[in-house]
Symmetry: C2
Amino acid sequence: MQFSFRMPVAVQILLCIAKFDGVFKTTSTFLASSVNINPVIIRKTLGQLKAAGLVEVAAGVGGAKLVKEPREITLQEIFNAVEEDEDLFHIQENPNPKCPVGRNIQQVLGNKLSVVKNHMLDDFAKITLADLLNDINTAEESRQ
Amino acid sequence: MQFSFRMPVAVQILLCIAKFDGVFKTTSTFLASSVNINPVIIRKTLGQLKAAGLVEVAAGVGGAKLVKEPREITLQEIFNAVEEDEDLFHIQENPNPKCPVGRNIQQVLGNKLSVVKNHMLDDFAKITLADLLNDINTAEESRQ
DNA sequence: CTCATTGTAATAACATGATTTACAATGAGT
DNA sequence: ACTCATTGTAAATCATGTTATTACAATGAG
């Protein structure tokens, strides 16, 4: 069980937009070929990133640009842009109300897990697009 | 996108075994009625918990018991018992190798995300079954 | 030997994510 | 105003994973 492609795809989109800014027009087709995914997914994801205030997309003419500096864009913002705001885990919705465990599990376990999720979001907040761009460039250099 | 029922179900199973120890025989049918889930799921989950050394199950006669004290059982052990050891997120497996972003995204983003996952596991390690039992009891008392 | 129960396989039902096709709306360039 | 590549979006389909269900051999105390 793991999270879907969504956040990683969004990250790759943003990295490409940053990396190729001024060099290539970053259309959905162009981005789709980097990620190797369907252009419609790219357009949908770009829409979410636009709604989150991270990019602006030129309808008609095509291409996308970052609205903020890479070091001001965190993984947390990207995650929140493309994922629902929901609990980390499914907890059974209809446990037995006659059982002392069943009738309290949602609240008790839910409380603990929401703390864990908040820590995860805090971790995401510490990782910026600039960090990732930097790592990409370092990795590129080490390929000679 | 969220994790499945598996870990929460395993937690509820263990809580019931601890709570009803010596009072009821905790068969898969009994546990299934607390969680309100199919007994086969319970049996399968109990099998995973047994393999992880957390419970012993009496085949034939029925019923399950904890092998360790509740305060020695952590959410991390439970999580690892029922979930695959895999990355937190899917990262596109076939990105474009001609793109400097595509050919490095797995390594770069994967590194960052594995740190986050380890933090999450550390958080899980700090939560014990005894903590949850205690919270259940407190919640029960406040119902009067 | 009996019988409730576990262990397990196989299948179906269901939900969700990803793919693909299609097409109206957009807007810079001519 | 027209063109045309592109976006935005809906709808249908495919793929995958999770949960539910049925079935039955294996288990082991009484």
